[in-house]
């Protein structure tokens, strides 16, 4: 699910449940999720970021 689609669905659900005050904090969560998904430690099925992540991350002690 894309973040835009998630935010639209989550906001609609919060309003349906009588919690319109959730909207601004769902937008905050959406920004955090955007940052999380953009992080270079994420693996992808086409292997496009795994090497970059491994190069940046020190090995475990």
């Amino acid at each position: 699910m894309t973040i835009d689609a998630w935010l639209t669905a989550a906001t609609a659900d919060a309003e349906r449940r009588g919690l319109p005050e959730l909207k601004p904090i769902l937008e905050t969560l959406a920004r955090a999720t955007t940052a999380l998904r953009a992080a270079d430690f994420n693996d992808h099925a086409d292997d496009r970021s795994a090497k970059a992540s491994a190069e940046r991350t020190p090995p475990a002690r």
Binding site: W6, L19, P59
Partner: protein
Amino acid sequence: MLTIEEFGRRLRAREVTSAQVTDECLKRIDADNGRLNAFIRVTADEARRQAEEADREITAGRDRGPLHGVPISIKDLLDVRGTPTTAASRVRDGHIAARDATSIAHLRQAGAVFVGKTNLHEFAFGTTNEDSAFGVARNPHDPSRSPGGSSGGSAASVAAGMALATIGTDTGGSIRIPAAACGIVGLKPSFGEVSIDGVVPLSRTFDHVGPLTQTVADASLVYHALLGDEHVTSPVPLPLHGVRLAIPRGYFFDVLDDEVRARFEEAVGRLRAAGVHLDEIEIHHTADIAPVYLHIVLADAAAYHATTLETMPERYTPNVRVRLEMGRYVLAEDYVRALAGRDVLRREVDAALAQHDALMLPTLPIPAPTIGAATVPVGTKTEPVRNVMLRLTQPFNVTGHPAISLPSGQTKGGLPCAIQLVGCRMQTDALLKVALACEPQIAAGPLPRSGKVGG
């Protein structure tokens, strides 16, 4: 105010009794709790009974160790048999703990005296102690200020002389933040060391139990008692000359009050002059700390609260309810990404510590905030209070490394500042030895105190 160490010396020299010191703590609670609201429940009768029993045992030659007869307060998130565990929430109305939390059972076995249950941010889900079904807890240094949170009542109780030590929990900084705000020592042990059985959870992935005390030596004594260690002695500091500390610049210094920064740099100068080797290092994925933390803690908390959010939503304080509801929208795929990020951050902190005894950084970027403030000025920027208070402590809940906050002087207005030392995973004792060695240089003089117990 007596430390646990000094109390123990005087108890065994028959200069004081547990009953006398417990009574002084109870008098201090009577005098100041109306102003500070540190306690939700005071167990005066039970405390006096425990103290008299402790004194009888000493007279009879039975010594349970360093915590024998020591008056201690307990965050109202941990079960104490026969008393309610409110978590500062109406959701818990009617609860009575059938048995002690494992850590509390260990303290009871060690002879500690329980003076009462302390106020907190509802369900430990906040940094200011403002959202509590039992009202706002206040900072003994300035009652218009927050004592920090979520263990705010706990920290206030020790800073105000209502107990010689207290037990808190720390999921994003909830021991270290109030310790810093109230000018006392707060220890978050390494993840998994101290049992969280019998503790109302916020996030089982990040929850820790630990002590808040007046000194590092006292923190070590209470920490070992929490573990159930039967033969506890005062820790021995490392020789200061040759201690190696790493200062993680960048993220950890980007948002920092000027006076907090000044107290930190002054401590660096004193430590360097005393022979401590200080390096500056970088931790690469710091930009990912908040997103990683948020997705895990929100989802963990939402899982625990899902049923009561449906059946009794009106019993939550509004801010905590909304924050818990947010967690119900975290997607599983993002939770898994956050777990992967946690592993990366853990390895990076491990690597930063490979050549050092501890990391050294400020604990709280700002002095204790004014109660009711949603934002706070930091340098030329305005920051949300909650985000800025968590900024320097939550990384080590994510990674699980042990961390201890020590007082590092005060602002011109008399508010405490604090420095955090972070050690290797599962090596809390080694961290305590470093902290014990560094404590005088970090404090640079008498620690801020606002209460007197026992002379």
